[in-house]
Structure formats: structure tokens, C-alpha cells
Homo-oligomer: 146 residues x 2
DNA sequence: TTATAAAAAGATATTTTTATCTTTTTTTTT
DNA sequence: AAAAAAAAAGATAAAAATATCTTTTTATAA
């Protein structure tokens, strides 16, 4: 569905939102550790997210990654767009080049409704929602045993 | 969404279904030409589909690929399973390892319904349906201009 | 103001996917 | 039986995604 980079980015965003606040930032290693992803690869991903302003960072001692209020409103769709591009919005499910409303692929109209709901889901769910869910229910960012 | 191999496989299956019948088979080159895919790559894909019995083939002069009645009932889901594996059935949308009914990811329950409809779509639509659709409406396997 | 801690940036390596090329086997026709 | 046509199989290459390593820049704290 999504690329590894994108999956890691989603996990990282959730992790940073949970662990950081205005004064305490989260270091790269901690993020990688907490999400079971390779450190140098996570570094690249955090650089990208930082460049695109989905998270903020500060260098130097006690530096690290953190989020402002706007960042906490980031949706999954935002993260997917930033890492994988707008394929889910624009591309034909079957990969047909000329598929559109006028010349639809065989499943175009049937998929339209599903796609709409799927995108709505990605746009509706924000990092904050996840934090709230974490309080009550459980889910895991690490590949640990349940 | 799906891999290139899978997209090409779907196109090839539709093409063979349209162009072949009991006596006349379709050659590899014709399939590649008709679906805008590189010949040697399509060769690989047809070998796989043939090995997995989604199409049949015969060697020698006037040989080529063709479908029996059972093949015409192949669904998109069958093609996806054969080429990309069962990821769409088994994997978490967000890529979380421990996501399941008991310890769901933040969108697990919300995605469940979408996933169900999506899979139903893939399973419902068969190659035959597409042939029928082709008679009335238009869609393109080639990247030609509309 | 110097040392240090941390991210940013850049360069390199590995793996997977996609694509291509060559040889072999099978089948049909002559 | 020989030639030819076609897919099957195997080997190789290119591109993209994933992963790693090294150097540079920045900011803090001693």
C-alpha cells in the first residue's frame, strides 16, 4: 500500500507526538529505537519530514525533534502525500494510463466510492487523535510481543 | 497500490481474453504491443501466469497464449494474489506489525469496512465482466491518446 | 571560547523491482 | 528428418527503494 519510508514516517510522527512537548525533545536514536526502524534510514526520513515542516528540530545538545500545535493536527494523508506523493489521489487502481471519468477503467466507478471513503479516513485521522487513542486503547509502534 | 508486474498482468489477462479463442492464440509480442509493456518483461509475467495456470500456452508455430472457460472466470483478486501475494488481505494499512483485532492500529476498525468493500470489488470483477464491458463502454489497455 | 551533542547533508552500499538479452525446449509444418 | 516458430528458462543489466556510513553545520553548556 504505502512505501516503507511512509510507514516509518507515520510511526515516527506518532512517536514524536507522544514523547515530546515544548521543553523536552526526542532524539533520533530514541525515535528509531521506539519504532523498530534502522537509525540511519530514520535519520533520512526525519530530515525530509523536518524539511517539509511536518516536525520541527533543533540541533546541538538537548536538541532533537518536536511538534508544535499545527504539527499535531497533521493527518495521515499529509504524511502519505509528503512521502509517497499523490498517487492515491490521482492514479487508476488498475494502473491504466487513460482511465478517467470519460474513459473509465472497468472498475473505475465502483472504486470511486471506496477511494472516497479511504481518503476521507486518511484525512480525518490526525496525530492528535492517535495520542488520545493511546490513552485508552493500546497499539504498538514496536515489533514487540503482545 | 499494486506492483508494475501486477498491473501488467491484469492488462495482459484482459488482452488475451479479448483476442484469443479456442483456435486462435495470442503471441507474446502482440500482448506486449497491445498493452504498452516491454516485451521481455511481459514474457516473464506470462511465464508466471502460465505456470500458475491463469492462462494456458502452447509452443511452436501458431502457438501462443489462450484461455479456457475457467481462466475467463479469473478475478482481479486472483491476479493480485498470484503476482503480489496476499498483502492486501493480511497486512495492516499503516504497516504496524502487531496490528490485529485485539491490539488494533489507530485506524484498524475504521479501515476494516473499506478493506472489505475493496476486496469484494477485486473478487467480484472477473475477466469475463471486462470483456462484456468492452462491448459497450470503452477503456484502454494501451497508453494511446483518447 | 572551546568542547560536545545533536541534526543536516552528502556519499556509498545493498536489495528489490523492473527490464533486457541469450539459450534451450517444444511443436508444427514442410 | 529438417527448418522454423514460438514459449520456457536462465543469465545479465539497469533503476529504484532501502539501508548505511562519513562529514559538516549548528547550538548549547561548561
Amino acid at each position: 500500500m504505502f512505501s516503507k519510508s511512509c510507514e516509518y514516517a507515520i510511526k515516527a510522527m506518532i512517536f514524536v507526538a507522544q514523547k515530546s512537548d515544548s521543553d523536552s525533545k526526542v532524539g533520533l536514536k530514541e525515535i528509531a529505537e521506539g519504532t523498530d526502524t534502522p537509525v540511519p534510514f530514520m535519520a533520512k526520513i526525519m530530515q525530509e519530514l523536518s524539511k517539509k515542516k511536518l516536525v520541527h528540530s533543533s540541533k546541538g545538545p538537548n536538541g532533537g525533534f518536536y511538534m508544535n500545535k499545527k504539527n499535531l493536527k497533521t493527518s495521515i494523508a499529509d504524511i502519505v502525500l509528503a512521502t509517497d506523493g499523490d498517487g492515491i489521489y490521482s492514479k487508476c487502481v488498475l494502473g491504466l494510463k487513460n482511465c478517467n471519468e470519460k474513459t473509465p477503467c472497468p472498475v473505475h466507478h465502483e472504486y470511486k466510492d471506496i477511494k472516497k471513503k479511504f481518503i476521507a479516513m486518511l484525512e480525518k485521522n490526525t496525530i492528535t487523535d492517535f495520542n488520545e487513542k493511546l490513552m485508552t486503547k493500546k497499539f504498538f509502534l514496536k515489533n514487540e510481543e503482545n
